[in-house]
């Protein structure tokens, strides 16, 4: 137990280091941007109607104080961390004056809901099928599935998603290809809204499952086909343990542990995946927000989304790392 606590502490320190390094990098990279939020807003405001030069000057001073753009970089950096710990990153630029954090929080449920469901689903299906394919190596269906999985794997996710859009939006338009819910449905906790959300999630989720499933399928099949040859499996079979029991509790159970790392990596890839998924399917979420912010030169929102990404990804990997020794007694925590 004491070893485990030491292990948790060590991993926690590493988590802190990753989060710190990641967010600092994001801060410094975004602050190299030549776009000044103050001038952008003034340009937007002054473009719509005419103001006296004094009013513009007053506006400029207020905005400069608000964004803190006149401070030297190290003070900005310190301020950033002081405000970051209380969850305040400042006003956004694309939807001024809505706080950037609020925009992120509005987008987050969409991303997490779609991505986590799709990734966990593809992980479970892929591993189950992969386990069976490794055990029943002569099954035609599973063999064919393996060939398809091999063929899909090297194709970048974008192309798969794009092909789905072309097929279901152009050749056989049966599913909605864009948006998170129908235009004429009011968001709320109603059956109609929930159905609409699920209906719109089918295509993006399918694209994620197609790509994710292949990876865990191939990994699992390789692991299982090695485990099957081990003595304890042969022994269990000879001793008359039921086949299903051997497959699920003797073989797949043991192969599951390394596959957990795969799940951690897939969850880690969430933010890479989400940008593309949301862009292709016009889905509301962090990815769309990030793309909008980048195109609008919005430093605060870009920084908020990337900080969120760093924290979420590092935490997911951290949690799965902690589960590792608990699930597999052979893993030494030292």
């Amino acid at each position: 137990m004491k070893d485990y606590l030491v292990f948790v502490l060590k991993r926690l320190m590493q988590l802190a280091a990753v989060v710190f390094a990641g967010i600092s990098a994001a801060f410094f990279i975004t602050h190299l941007s030549p776009i000044s939020p103050v001038e952008t807003i003034i340009g937007r405001v002054a473009g719509q109607s005419s103001f006296s030069p004094e009013a513009i000057q007053a506006l400029r001073e207020t905005l400069t104080a608000l964004f803190g753009t006149d401070l030297p970089l190290h003070e900005k950096y310190l301020n950033f961390w002081l405000r970051f710990v209380v969850g305040d990153l400042g006003p956004s630029l694309i939807a001024f004056p809505t706080p950037a954090m609020r925009l992120v929080m509005l987008a987050l449920p969409w991303t997490v809901g779609l991505l986590v469901t799709a990734i966990v689903m593809s992980w479970i299906i892929g591993n189950m099928l992969g386990g069976l394919a490794g055990y029943y190596q002569n099954n035609r269906f599973l063999k064919a599935f393996g060939v398809v999985a091999m063929g899909v794997q090297p194709i970048p996710y974008y192309i798969v998603a794009f092909l789905l859009v072309i097929i279901f939006g152009y050749f056989w338009p049966v599913l909605p290809i864009s948006g998170g819910f129908s235009m004429n449905v009011r968001p709320g906790f109603t059956a109609e809204f929930i159905f609409s959300v699920l209906h719109h999630a089918i295509l993006p989720a399918t694209s994620l499952v197609i790509v994710g499933m292949g990876v865990s399928f191939l990994g699992m099949r390789a692991l299982v086909s090695n485990i099957v040859t081990e003595d304890y499996v042969t022994y269990a079979e000879l001793a008359g343990v039921k086949t299903e029991r051997v497959v699920f509790f003797y073989v797949i159970r043991n192969a599951m542990v390394p596959q957990l790392t795969g799940l951690a990596m897939a969850l880690g890839g969430i933010f890479s995946g989400t940008i593309i998924t949301e862009q292709v399917f016009g889905y509301p979420g962090l990815g769309s927000l990030l793309v909008r912010a980048v195109n609008g030169g919005d430093t605060t929102v870009v920084l908020a989304v990337s900080s969120m990404a760093v924290i979420a990804v590092a935490t997911a990997i951290f949690i799965i790392d902690l589960l590792h020794p608990l699930l597999d007694p052979r893993v030494k925590v030292k």
């Binding site: 590493q14 280091a17 990753v18 390094a21 990641g22 990098a25 994001a26 990279i29 975004t30 190299l32 941007s33 030549p34 091999m150 063929g151 794997q153 090297p154 194709i155 970048p156 996710y157 974008y158 192309i159 794009f162 092909l163 072309i166 152009y170 880690g268 890839g269 933010f271 890479s272 940008i275 593309i276 862009q279 990030l290 793309v291 980048v294 030169g297 870009v302 989304v305 990337s306 990404a309 760093v310 990804v313 590092a314 990997i317």
Partner: protein, 286 residues
């Protein structure tokens, strides 16, 4: 080296198919050196022509001959992939061999950075670079940035091999005969990790080209340089699918899928070759 390739082609059908697929794309990309047109010019041909004898791959809505356009695109994409692969190999070999051979605190420090790099979400970071550099983010800069993020997994792999080599007899002989650490690493240990380096280099190319395509499609690179990604970007920009200019999208997608499957088969074949058990099974020796 040549004998290995010969063996692979003879005994490994995946390797042979992979070679053919990648070979076709490479020849196609090399054709751009004999191109009669400048790929950066627009409206030099009749727009929206379907594939025909004159325009093999048709022309796009920007009035460009798709055959030469794609030829340049693949040349740039392949160059990009190779650049990332070579640069990131240099980092991963150095880190892997140093950490594996020297061990101790060098190993711990390097692996600490390695773990951080593994955990960083690369795609958002690349978008950050675009956010700052805008259209200055050309192929070469992007390749350099991606190389800085593409090494950690392979460095770990190389380190694990180098760890095993450290306690082998020949390493001890080399140490006692007064070889320097640098020479042991690069003359004695490097040849052992070379097969891994080649296999991971191809896997790395798949990764980096996929990233480039994705970034470019979203418009997050300099879209005026023809690459496979920017070709698709312009196709989307002109709503090629809606207008019915299907060849603008279908041909590049088919070609890039061909390249990816080819490269993937090469890695599979290489990985199998590295593992002596599966190599024996394949050649019928076991």
């Amino acid at each position: 080296m040549l004998a290995i390739v010969k063996d692979l082609i003879r005994y490994n059908i995946e390797f042979a198919i992979g070679c053919v697929l990648v070979g076709v794309i490479v020849v196609f990309a090399l054709a751009s050196f004999f191109s009669p047109v400048d790929p950066t010019l627009i409206y030099v041909a009749i727009p929206d022509q379907p594939p025909s004898g004159q325009y093999w791959f048709g022309t796009n809505s920007r009035g460009q001959d798709m055959f030469w356009q794609l030829s340049f695109a693949f040349r740039n994409t392949l160059t990009f992939g190779l650049m990332v692969a070579v640069l990131s190999r240099i980092i991963s070999i150095s880190v892997g061999l140093l950490a594996g051979y020297l061990g101790g605190w060098v190993d711990r420090v390097l692996m600490f950075f390695n773990d951080i790099f593994v955990a960083l979400p690369i795609f958002p970071i690349l978008i950050l670079f675009y956010f700052v550099m805008r259209s200055d983010l050309d192929m070469y800069r992007l390749a350099f940035v991606m190389a800085c993020f593409g090494w950690p997994f392979d460095a770990r792999l190389i380190r694990s091999v180098a760890l095993g080599l450290r306690h082998r007899e020949f390493t001890r002989h080399a140490v006692f005969s007064g070889m320097s650490a640098r020479r042991i690493m690069f003359e004695e240990h490097l040849p052992y990790v070379m097969p891994i380096v080649f296999a991971t280099a191809i896997a790395n190319m798949i990764w980096s080209i996929g990233m480039e395509v994705t970034l470019a499609v979203l418009g997050f690179t300099n879209v005026n340089i023809p690459t496979v990604g920017t070709t698709l970007y312009w196709a989307n920009n002109h709503s090629a699918m809606v207008v019915g200019v299907w060849w603008w999208i279908l041909i590049p997608v088919l070609l890039i899928v061909m390249l990816f499957i080819g490269l993937f088969l090469l890695t599979v074949a290489m990985n199998e070759y590295i593992d002596p058990r599966s190599r024996l099974r394949r050649m019928g020796g076991a």
